[in-house]
């Protein structure tokens, strides 16, 4: 038969394909981008971080409450150190606010002691048990029944989705190919030749030597595609409730109760964006798409938070959402599959996954190297990323300078969060394709009015920048369109 070689689709070949652009996949991609490799990052949603990572609380854990022998423990402590370098390199804001694990009874101080010793075994430093005198000074809004707390200075906060976007942006800058709306439909194992897997996604085929499964809630399904079925992802839902920014200073530290066997409990969380957050709940669910919030969840969270800080009121709640933890047993599953050479599972990455991500990345790269991936460092690796400008976090004098360089910094689109048209266009240029993508990158629509005033303007900017019709604009990808029809002249 005669083949027209120009028309035949060429199958892209890679050294490594990563499935999932959440914080884990993004961190691995960025780490791999330091080496001379062809790397492809596949994400099933319309943008990175739209899966598990977008519901993350943004806590950088110190590592307490993990077994000293666990991957969770060791990688969390290592990640806690690494995140400081990475956030500085990528220009993403990290603040070491510290953590308090509080108890109501003097008898529970023994448990705090145990947690402290376990943490010290992991290498966590400078923890101390503090009592009312310290708490009244440094955490005055705590309820009077709280007897004592374990103060863990090295915990902090970061914006989880901005971290993912900044990691992916840096990875792409350093040569990683990112393909969104590319759900992996099937994986075929190849024999003979260096390419061991053929991955099918969005109607195209990609071949690769190494395949890294960082598919979050669907990691077990992806693993099953190559025949590894010894773990199951059980989604565990967590509802979180955001408080008005006016209550930003209700807490100075992350406030934790004593943990239960399945969760760290209802927390009072300072967030990188300023709004305090209370939650999460922890309920197992079968439905991997169930992100509904509930009346029971609200009541549970409010009760738990008020126990620790009685001045929190229902009226303080301005927003809420739910996330699903991809739980797969007690610890992370990070391993090269000996039965499927070239395949690395990175599954069950629930808390402290965000913190551990940079350390998971170096561990995975080590695993790949140990299984035959040659790592030749790039001489021209761009480690630094220019920090995204947010008018809401710079002084007015700096804003004036920016406006002088570009007048559209003075064109305010979102007034609740003070986001300019320039920042929105920048977000689109950096990869935002949906209303949620713009919200997560810029905070436009995340303020008091929840997009009531700025939505139409943002949609018009998207039309200008991307050439979309208004009917094509979505909240978070296909199926979530905002407008059914635009009136056109008949």
């Amino acid at each position: 038969m005669y083949y027209n070689y120009e028309l035949m689709p060429t199958i892209e070949k890679h050294d490594a394909i990563i499935v999932g652009a959440g914080v884990t996949g993004a961190a691995i991609a960025r780490e791999l981008s330091k080496y001379k490799l062809r790397v492809l990052l596949l994400e099933k949603e319309a943008e990175p971080a739209f899966g598990v990572s977008k519901s993350n609380s943004g806590i950088i854990h110190a590592g307490t409450q993990n077994h000293p022998d666990s991957l969770k423990g060791r990688l969390c402590v290592a990640g806690n150190k690494l995140i400081r370098e990475i956030s500085a390199e990528l220009g993403v804001h990290f603040v070491e606010v510290g953590q308090l694990i509080v108890v109501f009874d003097e008898t529970d101080v023994a448990e705090l002691d145990r947690i402290k010793h376990e943490g010290e075994e992991l290498g966590i430093k400078d923890m101390q048990i503090v009592r009312r005198d310290w708490l009244s000074l440094y955490e005055p809004n705590l309820g009077p029944e709280i007897a004592a707390a374990l103060y863990v200075p090295s915990a902090g906060i970061i914006s989880p989705y901005r971290l993912v976007y900044d990691l992916t942006e840096n990875a792409v800058k350093n040569g990683v190919v990112l393909k969104t709306s590319h759900r992996v439909a099937g994986i075929r194992r190849l024999s003979g030749g260096p390419y061991r897997f053929e991955v099918e996604a969005a109607g195209s085929k990609y071949q690769t030597r190494f395949l890294i499964n960082a598919a979050g809630l669907f990691a077990d399904k992806v693993s099953a595609m190559v025949g590894v079925t010894d773990f199951k992802i059980t989604p565990r839902k967590g509802e979180e409730y955001l408080l008005d920014k006016k209550r930003e200073h209700i807490a100075n530290h992350l406030v934790f109760p004593l943990p239960t066997p399945t969760s760290k409990g209802i927390l009072i969380i300072k967030t990188s964006d300023g709004n305090p957050m209370i939650g999460p709940t922890a309920r197992d669910t079968e439905d991997r798409n169930d992100l509904a919030t509930t009346e029971e969840g609200l009541n549970e969270v409010l009760a738990g938070a008020r126990r620790m800080m009685p001045s929190i009121e229902r009226g303080d709640i301005i927003a809420y959402f739910a996330g699903l933890r991809p739980a797969a047993g007690k610890d992370f599953i990070i391993r090269h599959e000996t039965t499927v050479p070239g395949f690395v599972n990175v599954a069950g990455i629930q808390s402290p996954g965000l913190t551990a991500a940079p350390a998971i990345a170096t561990m995975v790269v080590g695993i790949l190297h140990g299984n035959g991936l040659v790592l030749t460092p790039k001489k021209n690796f761009h480690s630094k990323r220019e920090k995204t400008t947010h008018l809401f976090e710079i002084p007015l004098s700096k804003t004036r300078e920016l406006i002088q360089k570009d007048p559209s910094y003075g064109d305010i689109v979102c007034r609740c969060e003070m986001v300019s048209a320039k920042e929105i266009r920048e977000a689109i240029r950096r990869g935002a394709r949906t209303m949620d993508g713009i919200k997560f990158r810029t905070r436009a629509q995340a303020g008091r009015c929840h997009g009531g005033f700025c939505t139409t303007r943002i949609m018009k900017i998207m039309q200008e920048e991307l050439g979309m019709t208004v009917e094509e604009i979505t909240k978070r990808g296909e199926g979530s369109e905002l407008v059914r029809e635009e009136r056109r002249h008949e």
């Binding site: 009226g315 301005i318 003075g410 305010i412 009015c449 929840h450 939505t455 139409t456 909240k475 407008v483």
Partner: protein, 325 residues
């Protein structure tokens, strides 16, 4: 630093009336700051009639009412209008910083009138459990989309709350060919004007469910349905009364919140519950020389009342500038 006698923040009906009244009372230097590209505020999107019956003894649409004032402002030499100007900072001694395309301006005002209007209460604030699909809009946003952009949000709508904006939008959407399945109101009677229930719901055969609430919104990516239930006197769900309404659009019309974040920034006292200025007299604030008017002061039903209220504020500012009180 640029010094101005009076700065009015907000160029909707409140701000325009206040500026005009201050000018009529002798203030010679007035800076009117408006963040949108046109004066008129929310009236620009209120294309329905019902405005001006008291003020002008005529029934005008929102834009027509606004236009009367816009024209008067244009004819008043003492009022300087700055559009696309968004105030980012207000201090207790009345220093104002505002952004506009190409500039960050700083002004020292001798007196200030805040006419910053309201924002809408959203789904998140109610709160309504369920999923977070697209297709849920504050009623005012839907109004802006349809009336100012010609964007039709969806096919079938349910409206939460029988406030006037919700009722007006029920009619608007019905006229635009959408199927409006119901208005759901938690109270025993409609919150909007009785005449709006008549001409917006009865006229179009849209059912109004009083003493009902939405207990869940469902839909994976876009709204698919709402679950409704009857409530008792304590607004708790009555068991066995749930029913579903399939729809792809949900409008939220459950009240307005005065916007006084600038006032709070300046250190003035603001009532935490109502978000309105705390002062000895209406239109005053706890900062001498700083006044408030219109919906930022109190949520009014009629724009005619806003105009009257704002004229008082303008006169107060003029008196303050003359006499220092």
């Amino acid at each position: 630093m640029n010094e101005r006698e009076l700065v009015v923040v907000g160029g909707g009906p409140a701000g325009m009336a206040a500026a005009l009244a201050a000018g009529a009372a002798g203030v010679k230097d007035i800076l009117l700051l408006e963040r949108d590209q046109h004066l008129g505020g929310i009236l620009n999107q209120c294309i329905h009639p019902g405005f001006g019956l008291h003020r002008f003894k005529e029934e005008l649409t929102g834009p027509e009412y606004a236009d009367r004032f816009v024209k008067q402002v244009a004819k008043t030499p003492s009022i300087e209008v700055s559009l696309r100007s968004f105030v980012v900072k207000l201090t207790s001694n009345m220093k104002i910083s505002y952004l506009r395309p190409g500039a960050l301006e700083e002004v020292q005002a001798k007196s200030v009138i805040l006419a910053t209007g309201c924002r809408e209460r959203t789904r998140e604030m109610i709160p309504i459990p369920g999923t977070r699909p697209s297709g849920i809009y504050p009623a005012g946003l839907a109004q802006k989309m349809i009336n100012m952009e010609g964007w039709i949000p969806g096919k079938e709508a349910v409206i939460v709350g029988s406030g006037d904006i919700g009722l007006i939008m029920a009619r608007r959407m019905a006229l635009e060919g959408m199927k409006v399945k119901a208005v759901i109101e938690i109270q025993k009677q409609s919150r909007g004007l009785v005449r709006n229930v008549a001409q917006c719901l009865d006229d179009y055969g849209i059912p109004l469910y009083l003493s009902h609430k939405i207990v869940r919104i469902e839909g994976a990516d876009r709204v698919e349905k709402v679950v409704v239930a009857a409530v008792d006197d304590a607004f708790c769900e009555k068991p066995g009364t749930r029913f579903e309404l399939s729809c792809d659009t949900v409008l939220i019309s459950v009240g307005l919140i005065p916007e006084n974040e600038l006032l709070e920034m300046a250190g003035a006292r603001v009532d935490r519950k109502t978000n309105t200025p705390v002062a000895a007299e209406v239109n005053r604030t706890s900062i001498r020389g700083m006044f408030a008017c219109g919906n930022a002061c109190k949520v009014y039903d009629l724009v005619d009342s806003v105009t009257r209220d704002s004229e008082k504020a303008g006169q107060m500012a003029a008196q303050f500038l003359k006499e220092g009180k």
